[in-house]
Amino acid sequence: MGMTMTQKILASHAGLDSVRAGQLIQAKLDLVLGNDITTPVAINEFEAAGFGTVFDKSRITLVMDHFTPNKDIKAATQCKQCRTFAKRFDIDHFYDTGAVGIEHALLPEQGLVAPGEAVIGADSHTCTYGALGAFSTGVGSTDMGAAMAAGETWFKVPSAIRVHLTGKLRPYVSGKDVILTLIGMIGVDGARYQSLEFTGPGVAELSIYDRLTICNMAIEAGAKNGIFPVDDITRAYVEGRVDRPWTAFEADADAEYERTVEIDLSQVDCTVAWPHLPENAHSAREGADIAIDQIVIGSCTNGQLPDMAAAAEILKGRHLADGVRGIVIPATQDVYRQCMHLGYTDIFLDAGCIVSTPTCGPCLGGHMGCMAAGERCVSTTNRNFVGRMGHVESEVYLASPAVAAASGVAGHICHPEEVMSK
């Protein structure tokens, strides 16, 4: 019986010739990640256990992105704890305010993840790096603390769902619409404990940024990881970023999948997930009666330069509707700088938006855009749970940057065509 791409990466990191679904393995890790919310708890565990060394200071990455720039004294205290730990162990990749970007945009950009690597992060959206052909998954703080000491962790080898992609995306349709469509098809627990393995001729039609967005939200279908094959698009992205040798793994021709889901990309339309679950997928065209108070464009899901470009295309020469607040958050310092150089920042400001330095902020109701009771936001983030962006009676509608920007201009949820045709 052949192995899936995920299974092959896990077997290689466990030092085994082969693994099968359900097998418990001990796997070596190429990178261990934490942020300013999860790392303090991991440090407490690490220190309580009495560990005196980390497994490899070049393979631990600490990213102060959630409640930063420090939103209050408690947040500042948590970052200080992480900073002290990073200094004590001379951690190579410690990203503080001034260098920080949103972790899952930052790590690929900085070349910290390569195809074929195995990564865990104390953040559920660590599954993003499957876009590069890596195995990556989210864990909790105790797992992170143990992995910082040991450089390895245990996994149950996942079975897989094959997502077979054909066709080509239509204008204004992006990776976000593909993943919201998929979650709408299989549900928020449709891939629980499983891998989502993307295959088919449609893969070549998706940019690396579409793939990053798709894998980012694999967790919203309950998946352990999402993963794309390594192709020329992957190689072009990784080249110049990753300077160490890496391996492109391929699924065996006879790999076993629990089922196959077919998606024709040409049939995917701009999609919005209504509150309060990411599986509540609707066409953006159904939103005419849903008036909104806020748009958020950013996050680990959609804070990359092409996301900013998509929003700028819609907002150029247009203004947010009366009463709509626009919050744009480039995900990294580099994206932030390029937004200035390419004129996007002016477009956003002219449209009536604010442009923030990189932070997870509003996505999880932390800061920089929390909502009051009864308010609605169209957001390019990844979760629309009860209370996610503030008051329990506020509502989050998940969408792409193009849909969020268009909805901001229209004052209600809408398809970008509605705004662009005017």
């Binding site: 418990l24 919310i37 999860t38 303090p40 708890v41 407490n44 565990e45 309580a48 256990a49 009495g50 959630h66 409640f67 939103k71 209050d72 408690k74 947040a75 205290t77 948590q78 992060g121 104390a122 953040d123 559920s124 660590t126 989210g138 864990v139 909790g140 703080s141 105790t142 797992d143 603390g145 143990a146 000491a149 040991a150 245990w154 149950k156 928020v188 627990d189 629980r192 404990y193 967790i219 309950g222 352990k224 679950l277 999880l364 109701g365 932390g366 929390c370 979760r383 749970f385 009860v386 209370g387 996610r388 329990v392």
Partner: protein, 165 residues
Amino acid sequence: MNAHGTVLKYGDHVDTDVIIPARYLASQNHQELASHCMEDIDKTFVTRVKPGDIMVAGVNFGCGSSREHAPIAIKASGISCVIAANFARIFYRNAINIGLAILECPAASAGIREGDQVSVDFDTGVITDETTGQTYQAEPFPPFIKDMIAKGGLMNALKAKEAAK
């Protein structure tokens, strides 16, 4: 090891944002986290919960964020055991790692009602609803996880392994 208590029952897809909202994640204090446990779906939870009580829920319990603060908040609130039809995978790992007892049992999840008196035998996985007299058999842990729990959780298991080197 056993648990015995009154049931507090919830539905499907109870996510970590409602178990402990992100606005409280600037704290690592277990009691402070417990004081806000479940507040975005059940403001009465913190006033009703008594030490030893048992939480019963539907499918995909603990979906969403990887925040370990979620099982910590539940455990520190006094809940002795969470029974669900099934768990989201990161929550499952986290609960085991911090020593919060969890059991997967779709039949118990469906049959047990709010307010029932329930006892759990962790060795056998037998769940007894003393109010209705119904018994249920939970899925046993794999031996690997049983061994980790017996050693006192992930960190202690890792220390034992390091010491043996």
